[in-house]
């Protein structure tokens, strides 16, 4: 794919979401990646043109953020968390196994173009360590065997489903979602998994709960008839 009039129109729709046009730059760069597979010079030029910035100003933003790629990543961009906790719990072993299997290192793409690898930092899923991602969908509680299987399936084009999300789409599909265009997949995956409900489960089993809610809210005292500017009241008390 390339940057088309349609792309420009969609970029314009992003600009219109913000009080100041430049705030749309990060979403616009995600949009560029969804079209081009990377932030290309043409994409930088389009953003600069639309926002009245120089190409250098846009490029300066691009190079600051790790999710913007200046060269094409794989159809499936796989991250392995090697920050301390994941690394210790098995992330380092997973990284070594995947790197050896694919014959690529950090920020490199497999020969068939299917999978690229990145050593990622903390993914805010430490209770599910060791954690991986594929196109920024979570793959929790991994071990070496499962990690290898995931990558094999991705290479073969077989279905891989996130442990807390949908079937994993292509890098360009996910970038479009990050740009701000809904893909209708929010309902996929569980509301929460057993790790997320670990405390709730324990509380239920041991009859623990928060203190009961009082009958009245402090806002029940507020008169329900103040439909317009309520600023004239000083306080209503509680």
């Amino acid at each position: 794919m390339a940057l088309t009039e349609q792309t420009r129109a969609e970029a314009l729709s992003l600009v219109e979401r913000y009080p100041e046009p430049r705030s749309a730059l990060l979403p616009m760069l995600h949009l560029v990646q969804s079209q081009e597979g990377a932030v290309t010079s043409a994409g930088i030029a389009m953003c600069a043109d639309m926002l009245g910035l120089s190409a250098a100003e846009v490029a300066g933003v691009v190079t600051f953020y790790t999710m913007y790629k200046r060269h094409k990543v794989g159809r499936y961009h796989v991250g392995v968390c090697t920050n301390t906790l994941c690394a210790v719990l098995g992330g380092d072993a997973i990284w070594s196994a995947l790197s050896a299997r694919l014959g690529v290192g950090h920020d490199e793409v497999s020969a068939d173009g299917a999978v690229s690898l990145e050593r990622i930092e903390c993914q805010a899923a430490c209770s599910h360590a060791p954690v991986m991602t594929a196109n920024w969908e979570l793959l929790d509680d991994m071990d070496v065997a499962r990690a290898l299987e995931v990558v094999e399936r991705l290479q073969a084009g077989d279905e891989v489903v996130s442990t807390r999300g949908p079937r994993i789409g292509t890098f360009q599909e996910i970038e479009r979602s990050l740009a701000g265009f809904d893909d209708g997949l929010a309902g996929q995956g569980p509301a929460a998994d057993s790790r997320m409900t670990a405390g709730l489960t324990y509380a239920r089993e041991h009859q623990m709960s928060a203190p009961p809610a009082p009958e009245r809210s402090p806002f029940d005292a507020a008169a329900p008839d103040t439909a317009d500017d309520a600023d004239q009241h000083e306080t209503t008390g509680a």
Binding site: L85, A124, E137, G165, A191, M196, G199, P211
Partner: protein, 439 residues
């Protein structure tokens, strides 16, 4: 103290993240009531409740709101910091996945309090499903009339924009987040002026953490006195704790502030079978580590400070005796070096050297006088940067050295992986060993 599920109370329902699931338990009931009352009423309730920011610093939320100047004729903004990236922190992402509507309702209520007509939810880009869930929740709330213009006929309007970041830990720092939201490199600003006076687009802005804002509907519903039945005088309320690492049941544990790590460990099934606690970190890699003798200290802002550390994000990491402290610190130094934005010299250069020197210890190639040299670099960095990232990078080493000096001395001749078999520390090794040997 005990577990107190509030925000997590319905996460075991399959539709907890939908409008229907949230409404079933009184969700959005407070919108009409709060928006019909003067904005200062909510500020007063939140102030009285003593709610403190859940992003790590613990600043009183009501006080922060009250700093926003009124009648200044400028646009006001509320910005939600959903850039959760602190190593160890895993509470905001689960909240956004399972209960995004609490955040959305909180946004509407908080926007009213500070007279903002626009809210932005800045979510880190690396967790796309959290972005989807929050975006879908906002869309549902718009369709139901809880967000948008003239909400429920109150005449009050709040627009919410969901914004995905692009991979930068530093954007969790509030002024860097604002620069990023303005479409720039995410670099911290000099303060003052604080965001309450000159924030987004140089307008008065409140930046609050996800969990802080998700607390607001419940506090509005149940009142300040109810919140204060949990926690302590200086740390009232409930908190999303998490426990990760070498424990039997890692996960999210919502409990009253003041709960101890010993209690949290019990809920989490204890340190994994056949092993013992070596050290733990109460609230993210940026706060000093604690030892087994600290398990009975209440997890409050003030008690953790008294113990020489910080509550931080209250997301505990637990490491057992198979862990190399040198390797743990070394990896965190790599992280801070990777994430330093480069604006301030002490942080940019300091993290660059810390990473390399810790790697020498990890490989067993350090010199004995490197032990003092690393300490000196940390001292030179601390307090000399625009934001706290440099301080955070300078923090872990000293307590690690204090408790495990032998391991750093060993780093002058023996690699960390030779001292501590990395296979033994993995959880899959534990599964193999544990199933055969334990209990």
């Amino acid at each position: 103290m005990a577990l107190t599920p509030v925000l997590t109370a319905h996460w075991d329902e399959a539709d907890s993240f939908t409008l229907a699931g949230y409404r079933r338990h009184g969700g959005y009931d407070m919108v009409e009531k709060v928006l019909s009352a003067p904005p200062d009423d909510l500020i007063t309730v939140v102030k009285d409740s003593g709610l403190r920011g859940r992003g790590g610093a613990g600043f009183p939320t009501g006080l922060k709101w009250s700093f926003v100047p009124q009648g200044d004729g400028k646009a006001h903004y509320i910005v939600i910091n959903a850039d959760e990236s602190e190593p160890g922190a895993c509470k905001d992402i689960p909240l956004m996945l399972a209960n995004p509507h609490a955040l959305v309702e909180g946004c509407v209520l908080a926007a009213h309090a500070i007279r903002a007509s626009h809210a932005f939810i800045y979510i880190r880009g690396e967790v796309v499903h959290a972005v989807r869930r929050v975006r879908a929740a906002v869309a549902e709330a718009y369709a139901a009339g809880f967000v948008g213009q003239n909400i429920l006929g109150t005449g009050i309007g709040v627009e919410i924009v969901v914004h995905a970041g692009a991979g930068a830990y530093i954007c969790g720092e509030e002024t860097a987040l604002l620069d990023s939201l303005e479409g720039r490199r995410g670099q911290p600003r000099l303060k003052p002026p604080f965001p309450a006076v000159a924030g987004l687009y140089a307008c008065p802005t409140v930046v609050n953490n996800v969990e802080t804002i998700a607390n607001i509907p419940t506090i509005a519903r149940n009142g300040a006195a109810w919140l204060r039945t949990m926690g302590t005088e200086k740390s009232p309320g409930f908190k999303l704790f998490s426990v990760s690492g070498h424990v039997e049941r890692p996960g999210v544990y919502e409990a009253a502030l003041g709960t101890t790590m010993r209690e949290l460990l019990e809920y989490a099934g204890g340190v994994r079978s056949g092993h013992e606690l070596k050290f733990w970190i109460p609230g993210g890699s940026s706060v000093p580590m604690l030892m087994p003798e600290h398990l009975d200290i209440p997890m409050t802002y003030e008690d953790m400070q008294g113990a020489g550390t910080m509550l931080g994000t209250a997301t505990a990491m637990v490491f057992d005796e198979t862990t190399s402290v040198v390797k743990a610190i070394s990896r965190w130094m790599h992280f801070y070096k990777h994430e330093s934005c480069g604006k301030c010299t002490p942080c940019r250069e300091g993290t660059f050297w810390l990473e390399q020197m810790l790697e020498r210890f990890e490989r067993g190639h350090a010199d004995l006088d490197d032990i003092a040299k690393v300490d000196e670099i940390c001292r030179q960095m601390f307090g000399r940067n625009f934001c706290a990232l440099g301080d955070a990078a300078a923090t872990p080493y000293a307590p690690a050295l204090k408790h495990f000096r032998d391991e750093f001395v060993a780093g002058t001749h023996t690699a960390a992986d030779d001292l501590f078999d990395p296979v033994a520390a993995t959880i899959f090794a534990a599964a193999a060993v544990g199933s055969g040997g334990a209990s």
